[in-house]
């Protein structure tokens, strides 16, 4: 936008949000889904129809030069817009159905087909890691030269705030003498949270004063709480559900270690947020995480699905303050230099120029 570009965002409405507003110069157009359906896919196609209508209206105001969509959920609206506006389409694929849950039924196969179709219709496909590029090229047979790798970004300045570390920890049930092991993310199988929970007995065997804070929501929450209870560790684990952005920043800055135990992770932005907050990161060596974290320099790799390996990683960080400081220092510098939003915006603008024949 600083280069004089105009950005319009077409999105779904939310209770209380206006149909149109400008946020930091972005024109935001919200679409109302006037007709619903209990079936997820039917609902998704219905809201795409309404998004398409909103896109047509927004185009009268903005005169878009290109359309950029994220993932299959808005694929039909983006593809429709491409054809009725006669403008090129750029698509960012953050993950694939094949990677998220394997293909397991008609709805899943349809989502897979939608992802292929979206990649096919796009002039260029952006992915956030080389791992995802391999997935998109391998599974959908997208030519490699049509795919650009642009990582996600993190605003380090968001973490540049003073927090009362001890007060924050107490608020989340962690005493001054205790270690705070933090997980942040959705509570779904691909995030591997259950392996962290299963590692709790071993970690707390070494660090009796360890407490675990699990931030996030998801359909597995009741199962995970039950699991924590079954292994006799429920009292050590605080499931917070959603918390405010402000609390999340404060909590991350106050943690002793952040664990990202994913079994599938196209990028792994939580690891970057940990680095930006100057907290040591223990992460599975899978997918994009293996590109975001550098073992023994910006974080610690562990094997995914291995409770022993996760426990080892956490113990490695908690037991050596000098090593911890080394990881934190390197992690913070890496985020600031490689993953700033400014750098990512420039790379995205280059893709746009290329699509419009200006690059």
């Amino acid at each position: 936008m600083k280069d004089g570009n105009e950005v319009g965002v077409v999105t779904l409405d939310f209770p209380g949000a206006p149909d149109y507003e400008e946020i930091e110069g972005f024109k935001v157009y919200r679409s109302k889904t006037e007709v619903g359906h209990p079936n997820f896919l039917t609902w998704a196609f219905l809201f795409n129809h309404f998004l398409e209508k909103t896109l047509a209206g927004a185009n009268r105001d903005c005169k878009f030069d290109l359309i950029h969509i994220h993932d299959w959920l808005v694929g039909p609206a983006g593809i429709g817009g491409k054809h009725f506006l006669d403008k090129p389409l750029v698509c960012t694929m953050h993950s694939t159905e094949h990677g998220r849950s394997s293909l397991h039924g008609p709805d899943s196969y349809m989502i897979d087909g939608m992802e292929w179709w979206t990649c096919y219709e796009a002039s260029r496909v952006i992915v956030t890691s080389n791992s995802m590029k391999g997935e998109v090229c391998g599974h959908f047979h997208v030519p490699g030269e049509k795919v650009d790798v642009i990582p996600n970004g993190v605003g380090v300045e968001k973490y540049d705030v003073e927090v009362d570390r001890w007060a924050v920890r107490r608020r989340f049930g962690v005493g001054d003498h205790e270690k705070l092991v933090l997980y942040v993310g959705r509570l779904v199988p691909q995030k591997g949270v259950e392996y962290l929970i299963r590692a709790v007995p071993r970690i707390s065997g070494r660090f009796h004063e360890a407490k675990f804070v699990i931030v996030g929501e998801g359909w597995m929450r009741s199962h995970l709480e039950w699991l924590a209870d079954q292994i006799g560790q429920r009292w050590r684990i605080n499931f917070t559900g959603f918390i405010s952005d402000e609390d999340l920043v404060a909590l991350t800055k106050s943690a002793d270690v952040l664990v990202v135990p994913s079994v599938y992770e196209p990028f792994g932005i939580v690891a970057l947020e940990g680095m930006a907050a100057k907290v040591p990161v223990v992460a599975s060596q899978v997918g994009g995480l293996a590109e975001v974290v550098e073992h023994d320099r910006t974080g610690v790799y562990v094997h995914s699905r291995s409770t022993d390996s996760i426990a080892w990683g956490v113990e490695r960080v908690l037991s050596d303050p000098g090593y911890r400081d080394w990881l934190v220092k390197n992690g913070y510098e890496t985020v600031r230099n490689r993953f700033s939003w400014k750098a990512i915006a420039q790379q995205t603008a280059e893709v746009y120029k290329r699509v419009l024949g200006e690059g």
Binding site: G16, V35, E194, L227
Partner: protein, 90 residues
């Protein structure tokens, strides 16, 4: 035998969350668009007692809110409920 329970003995989407998604998808996301139990039954093909039990549980969790309109209790997904649904879809 392992000391720990197996990985996914109960890790399925609980019925009340499947119901929450349906309520969301039919558009009951604000007080103005809230639905009575009879309307919800038409949309979801669920029996009224099942719906009432789901609504009671989801209400306790803060995912569903009710309003009184035309002498009827009408229900809609709360903002927290919408967030919950979005974690299931993303």
């Amino acid at each position: 035998m392992s000391r720990y329970p197996p990985v996914y003995p109960r890790a399925e989407l609980p019925e009340e969350f499947r119901f929450l998604c349906m309520l969301h998808n039919v558009g009951a996301i604000t007080a103005e668009r809230s639905l009575a139990v009879a309307d919800i039954a038409k949309w979801t093909n669920e029996e009224a007692p099942t719906i009432q039990e789901h609504l009671r549980r989801l209400g306790e969790l803060g995912y569903v809110q009710s309003v009184r309109k035309d002498d009827q209790d009408r229900f809609h997904v709360s903002v927290m409920g919408i967030r919950k649904v979005l974690t299931l879809y993303s």
